[in-house]
């Protein structure tokens, strides 16, 4: 059951995935572009300064992982949504199991851009000679890339698997939180003037983005070369 589902998902997404695979391979190479091997003569500080320009590209690593997760999640359900899930619902399989198989298929396909990214990282680090005190982290960055892709994929897969009503519900809740955070904050301060100023949206965002929040992986250290 799993293998045909994997083959189906692969056939559905393979052409859409090509630009992302190319980007996953090329981005690490671009990140070390211009550094060359002569830079090995510099000391660590000078090297880091030289890296500054290239560090700007690092922001694209998590963005790329998130985009790949998004493409995989949407392609998982796209045709099913268009057909109102009639085919899936006519199959003799429990719904949770069908969703789990689909999820597993997408997770395995996420390995394709990850491998491209890993090769890109290895090629990039092989192309430069590092000065003492700096290290390359191609494997660690590749694992981070894979986990970030899986995180984005999982969140969007769950959203895409739901009905339109569920999706609207999630976004309405987020919108209401934004809308009501001001009055709520005001109310909390009124109730306890000694209270530390706490902004609700900020509080929620911090819990999501900072460790051990689920999106922490996107804002952590994405350096290919570091101390």
């Amino acid at each position: 059951m799993y293998q045909p589902m994997l083959a189906l998902h692969w056939k559905q997404v393979r052409f859409g995935l090509i630009p992302f695979v190319v980007a996953a391979f090329a981005l690490p190479l671009l990140a070390v572009q211009g550094l060359g091997s002569s830079i090995a003569m510099m000391d660590a500080d000078a090297y880091r300064r030289a890296l500054t320009f290239n560090q700007g590209l690092l922001v694209f690593f998590p963005a790329l992982a998130a985009s790949i997760g998004c493409v995989l999640a949407l392609s998982s359900w796209n045709w099913d949504h268009q057909q109102k899930h009639v085919y899936a619902l006519s199959l003799p399989i429990a719904r949770w199991r069908y969703a789990a198989l689909k999820m597993g298929a997408g997770a395995v396909i996420a390995l394709v851009p990850t491998i491209a990214f890993g090769i890109g990282c290895l090629a990039a680090t092989a192309s430069v000679e590092l000065p003492a005190g700096l290290h390359a982290y191609p494997v660690q960055l590749t694992v981070r890339f894979f986990l970030a892709t899986l995180m984005a994929y999982s969140i969007l897969f769950a959203l895409a698997a739901g009905t339109m009503r569920t999706t609207i519900g999630v976004f309405t809740a987020a919108f209401l939180l934004l809308l009501l955070s001001g009055p709520l904050n005001h109310f909390l301060v009124q109730m306890d003037p000694m209270r530390e100023h706490v902004h609700v949206v900020e509080w929620v965002a911090t819990r999501i983005v900072e460790s051990p929040g689920p999106l922490q992986i996107f804002v952590g250290n994405w350096s290919l070369i570091d101390v």
């Binding site: 189906l8 009639v86 619902l89 006519s90 199959l91 399989i93």
Partner: protein, 303 residues
């Protein structure tokens, strides 16, 4: 188990515009049950509900003796389903789609699938995205039959197909039924198509089941009667009057469409001073149209 499908007091509401209202139907095991109704009458909604795709607001459903939705995966493993709109994946070839589908069905018969591929002239290497409507229709039937189902649910399976493909599809269904004794539930608005193959008929209109009976009773029970000196009121009539209309401008000459007619009922007209000029059989399509007319609220004779 006497019924392949048994639905009791099914109610389901879709928004404000459409609802299934107190639908109760029974499909005998081994029958070919024609599910008739105009577009938008609730045929597909009823099918999707007993297939467990939508959750009813109330009512009980049992398919192949098992309860929906409690035993749905077991039920679906024994049901071959051809939906109203093709749902197969356009990214796959026929062979890949067959392999994908087969992986879900324990009773899948690969030899039978290959035989059907030959018989229905379906090319396994053909990409689904490039297939015509007729080819897709044949593929859907192939998928439904190859799992060796006890119940075949066909939702407008021949809609939009050319006569040759339509004949191929119906022949394949009838051959399968002849060989296995499976039950078939077939929905259509093409009345004449069902007339030839069905032994039971259910008629939907505006979300309600307005009639359910054996086909022979449906065909024989609806008559057009030409009368002279027809009575003004007919409350005591032993049959149901679906419609009555004056003919040729003659005051007392009328045509009645009646349901539940049997020949001894002529005596009723003698009793009320009317003369029966002739009694004409209606074909299924005419009977279907008259039945729908009578069941609609605007018809004073209806219900």
């Amino acid at each position: 188990m006497n019924s392949a499908i048994e639905i009791t007091d099914l109610n389901w509401k879709a928004g404000k515009s459409f609802a299934l209202k107190d639908v109760s139907l029974r499909v005998p095991v081994g029958s070919i049950y024609g599910f008739l109704g105009p577009n938008g009458s609730g045929k597909t909604s009823t099918i999707r509900t007993f297939m467990g795709m939508t959750k009813p607001n109330s009512g009980r459903i049992s398919v192949l003796g098992m309860s929906v939705p409690d035993e749905l995966p077991r039920i679906l493993g024994r049901v071959g389903y051809v939906p109203e709109r093709p749902h197969v994946y356009p990214a796959l070839t026929v062979g890949e789609q067959v392999k994908y589908h087969a992986s879900f069905f324990k009773l899948w018969d690969p030899g039978w699938a290959n035989e059907l591929m030959d018989r229905l002239d379906v090319d396994p290497d053909r990409k689904i995205a490039r297939m015509s409507k007729g080819e897709t229709g044949k593929l859907l039937l192939l998928l439904a039959l190859s799992q060796r189902p006890d119940l075949l649910v066909l939702d407008e399976p021949t809609d939009g197909l050319d006569p040759v493909v339509r004949r191929d599809v119906l022949t394949a269904v009838l051959d399968y039924v002849g060989e296995t004794g499976a039950t078939v539930f077939i929905s259509s608005h093409l009345v004449h198509e069902l007339e030839r193959i069905c032994d039971w008929v259910g008629v939907m209109d505006h979300g309600e089941l307005v009639a359910e009976m054996p086909m022979h009773r449906f065909k024989n029970g609806i008559k057009k009667i030409r009368l002279e000196d027809a009575p003004e009121a007919a409350a005591e009539a032993p049959f149901r009057i679906l419609s009555r209309s004056r003919t040729n401008g003659r005051v007392a000459s009328e045509t009645w469409i009646v349901r539940g007619w049997e020949d001894p009922m002529r005596m009723y007209f003698n009793g009320v001073g009317a003369t029966v000029r002739d009694v004409v059989d209606l074909d299924l399509e005419e009977g279907f149209v008259e039945l729908l007319r009578a069941s609609r609220p605007s018809n004073p004779q209806g219900r």
